[in-house]
Symmetry: C2
Subunit: 330 residues, 2 copies
């Protein structure tokens, strides 16, 4: 065989093409064999087998994914918070009063813990100060710039490389099986859309998230959409099924989350006789990533962990189920 | 040739297949030759020509369509009003006080004009009484039942046959050219989604519209989404670019409307150097459909008509440009 290939470069090329293609196409290559991988593949087989009792038309193959802690990391804090911090530092010269005004003063001193101790009120104040007061196009550009230059504080990798390799493979696998993949995240929809397509293959129209109010205006004869400093919708907890209802308009048949913020989305996906599939990514790998659940200040997984066990949802154990966590460095 | 085909049934079959296929594939067959058809086809040629200066990546080929008066009729009144009327009649026995309470009393007497004279307040009251107080699944079922049985008052055809044949062909033509087609309508999103996929080939997740508030609840251990009697969002006028921003997340490159309610959507699509295409369906055919514009109580087309002329948007003249209005009876 080897001799034949050496003598026939066309055949050798075809051979390479075929085998590299096959390797690429191995579904869920970064998932270890086990219950989680089996459950996912068995569900997909079931809903894609024509004539089978559980067959689902491709149009209805909707899969929804939480983002923070499910598709990319959220440790030591939601990545959007780093965007907020960088924006506050950038805007500080124009806002000298921030030096003595919380939560901005603490952010500028590098004391994130005190800044975030102000709870939701402090966070919303920071969102309003950093995410509003510009047009949608201007905000798009800010996020697009930031995402290419910012680095994760401990790994020093771009945040777009802090995604989970097994989940990237899962997105591909589902799409190859006729699924439409959506993000349904508590994070800002306008923060995710500029990069979700290149990083996850998920186009803007398939991203559902939290949002601030916006307003259409004519400015010098040109229409703009202005971002205002007021929350319009929080796509978290009981907001997630609402976000799905408004933004997608049909019940997903698969849902992936990692925290109590995803509980209602998982309930909605598996309600009644829907036959839907729910999975929770359990952060169990303190060595390769982070280990946290019931007591965590980010991505708390408590009620949803109980319900996952009661209802036999798939519990993905990052340590046991994933061969690698992040994609290799490019 | 004829002799050959007669003698060779396989060849004859292939011949038929090829030519019937070609006929079906004739784009915009119900559009007369002229400026409107040319403008549409020239724009599509331009954005789909690889390497051309105006080439647009398929992912960004977003086309948005108003519904009432653009994809289906709106004469003598928005079709969703007939749904409201039928619901009021159906619910009247449970609401005896409606006999003497406006706007319900007038609806029950068949006096739509007086009922609608109450303006937006009366309409919202009717929407709350007929569109809320049930789960999203229950409302879906109500609409799905109604749409198959209700008939247009003058043509006696199902409302789903009161769609515009040339626009159905346009939707197909754009999709064949890699476009994603969206509805962006002032009508209720939950009223359109149950039938938009079978009638227009537009899936629920590509329908943007007005909506009432909804709430996630657990009911007997099962999650439901409840429809509440309060407006959440009106997808009309300056609301349309907001609906597009929130629901689609990128600027369309083509937009079709028919009234002043669509003006801002057309402005947004053609803003600045976007190179976007805007068209207005002008109801000019009093014989085959209805003729109305500046003075109409439905689908008023006044400011947008002026702006279309100033900005050289495509003005589709239903009487001149369309060979037929509605699809043939099945």
């Amino acid at each position: 065989m080897k001799g034949l290939l050496n003598k026939n470069p066309v055949l050798a090329g075809l051979f390479l093409l075929f085998f590299s293609g096959s390797l690429l196409a191995t579904p869920l290559a970064s998932w270890n064999e086990g219950a989680s991988k089996n459950a996912i593949m068995e569900f997909v087989r079931k809903v894609t087998t024509p004539g089978g009792a559980d067959y689902v038309d491709p149009a209805a193959r909707v899969a929804v994914f939480d983002n923070d802690g499910t598709l990319w990391g959220e440790y030591p804090v939601y990545f959007q918070v780093f965007f907020i911090i960088d924006r506050i530092k950038q805007l500080a010269p124009e806002n000298p009063e921030w030096k003595t005004r919380e939560p901005f003063a603490s952010v500028l001193k590098g004391d994130l813990k005190t800044a975030l101790a102000g709870g939701e009120k402090a966070l919303l104040e920071m969102v309003a100060a950093t995410h509003a007061g510009m047009t949608t196009d201007e905000f798009d550009a800010l996020v697009s710039d930031w995402i290419t230059t910012a680095r994760h504080p401990t790994t020093q990798r771009p945040f777009t490389e802090m995604v989970y390799q097994p989940m990237l493979e899962l997105l591909d696998y589902l799409r190859e099986n006729g699924f439409k993949t959506f993000i349904v995240s508590g994070g800002g929809v306008a923060f995710m859309r500029p990069w979700a397509e290149s990083v996850y293959g998920i186009p803007p129209e398939q991203v559902v998230g939290s949002r601030i109010k916006t307003e259409f205006q004519m400015r010098d004869g040109q229409p703009v959409i202005l971002r205002k400093g007021e929350i319009d919708f929080i796509d978290d907890k009981a907001g997630k099924p609402i976000g799905i209802h408004v933004g997608i308009g049909r019940r997903p048949i698969m849902a992936f989350g990692n925290s109590d913020g995803d509980l209602q989305m998982l309930q909605w996906t598996t309600a009644g006789n829907s036959g839907g599939f729910a999975a929770i990514i359990h952060h169990t790998d303190g060595e390769r990533e982070a280990a946290y659940d019931r007591e965590s200040h980010i991505g708390r997984l408590d009620k949803a962990l109980d319900e996952a066990k009661e209802r036999a949802w798939t519990l993905v154990d990052m340590k046991k189920d994933w061969k690698v966590i992040h994609p290799p460095k490019p």
